[in-house]
Amino acid sequence: MSDTSPILPEGAKVVICIRGLRNAFGEEGEQQQVIHDKLDLDVKRGEILGVVGGSGTGKSVLMRSIIGLQTPEDGEIEVLGENMIGREEDEAKNIRRRWGILFQNGALFSTLTVAENVEVPLREYFHLSPTLMDEIAGYKIAMAGLPADAAPKFPSELSGGMVKRAGLARALALDPELLFLDEPTAGLDPIAAQNFDELILSLRDKLDLTVFLITHDLDTLYAICDRVAVLADKKVVAVGTIEQLLALDHPWIQEYFNGPRGRAAAAA
């Protein structure tokens, strides 16, 4: 077994464990569009795992399968030691409490202010005093790097970077062990993207998070990811540090990291 295998050796502390995942859209037959087939992946506790792949390779579908928004055709998914497939809603709720998700476009509730958005998960799961809830929302917003005056604003009044930070504050509301980020730096200017990278890195260190990060941003990959998983040919073809991946002779990986953009990011 090479050291870029998507399956970690026995004994590793694994937070997400996927085996034999199959996702397909459409009726079975020739028309069927298979997104994933026999996909394996392990995510180590405490790491920032970057997930890359060309458009249409099913990065978001993979994330949606893990968090239960998409029911796979086949395969096993275990998150934080709990099997995720075929769960009852009540049981799934207990696991959902332990992760936070930042959607690509923030997915903030547009009728609520930023602070109220952060309070939504708190309200849903706990009976806390209103003062305490406001205070929690306050420091989460500050932790996500937003200024205090952003808290009473509505999502439509925020810039793109602030929407992402507000989404991150909501994802952090319940002190999750696991954080899913779907293209967190897409649509941000380079400075905002770099700040966001640093924020994720520092939050991981401070709050002991495991981060599952979907990205196209090569700078993000170089700057903060401990390991990178490459989606191609309907499965995870390799997982490893960028140096390890560069040693492989998979055509897509070579083109991705050795293209002009890849080299520029590596030099940075």
Binding site: L132, I136, G138, Y139, D149, A151, P152, K153, S156, K206
Partner: protein, 370 residues
């Protein structure tokens, strides 16, 4: 075994020590908050027994040190780290936007804002009306290039053909209701035969057109607002402008034309269906044979009644499409606006239709079409 919390008379025999044991996390935050509340100021918080802590737990401890002069001891390096984290993130925050003024002052200012807004909407609607007229003139001048046949025909289908089912059913039932209610009242005078007058004249003159207008406002006015609003949000309308396609020509005028053309047709169809419903009721309940019913209809309904009904129809259609498109174009910001504007479109369209109907009623009686 009570393993956490505020305990008197333990080995320290000091009631000023709050000893936490086990997990100090969000799931126990409510209890912890209450317990710290009960402690005297200047308490000592002993964290040596804590094996799991999150930011919420840290926040509660930090808050006690900030506001109540508490001292922390026995914190592990991780706990220290978390306390430092929340200390750094402590900034006063408002949850909801600040509301200006109170009571009377706020009421007056809100009323003022409302009036100004209503004025602006009216002004905007007139503006839009003008822009539409210019658009119509452009299309009229060079129909070969500017008239979008496909768009108009598609709208004919959506606004007209697909409304036939629901408008037909509604009208048919209304015919039965008018017949039945009218007959009950008129029976008291022994004048049941006048039920036919009632059904015929009220339908042709007022109800056929009015009910159709309400239905079209609900079905198509709302759809216009939602469609244009969504296109506005996704910047499709901006894209059109930059390509050089006028949104008025491509989107507004086809919708207007479809409403203007379809309203009289739908109204006439609604009149027929209402009369059919009323006729069937008269036949079954009042035993007036269909032939007599039709003959009498011809005698009691002056042809001017038909004109009254049909002249109003395109005007109503125009108003419905105007308000729907106008509200759709007003959408800005987020998806919530689409819902709000769609509601406004329907409410304002129905309101305007009824106002205009009243104006028409006065006008037609003054020219002697009674």
């Amino acid at each position: 075994m009570a393993t956490r919390g505020y305990r008197k008379g333990d080995e320290h025999s000091d009631e000023r020590i709050y000893r936490c044991v086990g997990s100090l996390t969000i799931s126990r935050a409510a209890t912890t908050e209450r317990e710290i509340e009960l402690m005297p100021d200047g308490m000592t918080i002993d964290l040596s027994g804590v094996n799991k802590m999150d930011t919420v737990g840290a926040w509660l401890v930090y808050r006690a040190t900030r506001d109540r002069g508490a001292r922390v001891e026995g914190a592990s390096p991780e706990a220290e780290g978390l306390l430092e984290q929340v200390r750094q993130a402590d900034v006063p925050v408002r949850v909801t936007p600040e509301e200006e003024g109170t009571g009377f002052k706020r009421g007056v200012s809100e009323l003022g804002e409302y009036v100004v807004e209503a004025g602006q909407i009216l002004f905007g609607l007139l503006n839009f009306f003008g822009a539409t007229l210019i658009g119509f003139w452009q299309v009229f001048k060079r129909p070969q290039q500017r008239f979008r046949m496909n768009a108009v025909v598609t709208r004919f289908d959506l606004v007209g053909v697909r409304a036939l089912g629901i408008i037909g059913l509604m009208s048919f039932l209304i015919g039965i209701v008018i017949g039945q209610q009218g007959a009950v009242q008129l029976r008291a005078f022994g004048a049941e035969i006048y039920t036919i007058n009632l059904i015929g004249r009220i339908t042709v003159r007022e109800l056929g057109t009015l009910m159709t207008a309400i239905m079209v406002a609900g079905r198509s006015g709302s759809a216009f607002a939602a469609q244009l609003g969504t296109m506005k949000l996704t910047e499709e309308i901006d894209a059109m402008r930059t390509i050089g396609v006028s949104p008025t020509e491509a989107l507004v005028i086809p919708r207007m034309m479809s409403a203007i053309v379809m309203m009289p047709l739908l109204s006439f169809y609604a009149m027929i269906m209402t009369i059919l419903g009323g006729g069937i009721y008269c036949w079954i309940d009042l035993e007036i044979p269909p032939l007599t019913f039709v003959q009498r209809l011809q005698e009691v309904i002056p042809i001017t009644d038909v004109w009254v009904g049909l002249i109003k129809a395109p005007v109503f259609g125009f108003v419905i499409a105007l308000v729907g498109c106008f509200q759709g174009m007003l959408v800005e910001g987020d998806a919530e606006q689409v819902g709000l504007r769609t509601t406004n479109a329907v409410v304002q369209a129905i309101f305007l239709v009824i106002v205009i109907d009243a104006v028409f009623a006065v006008f037609f009686s003054s020219i002697g079409w009674i």
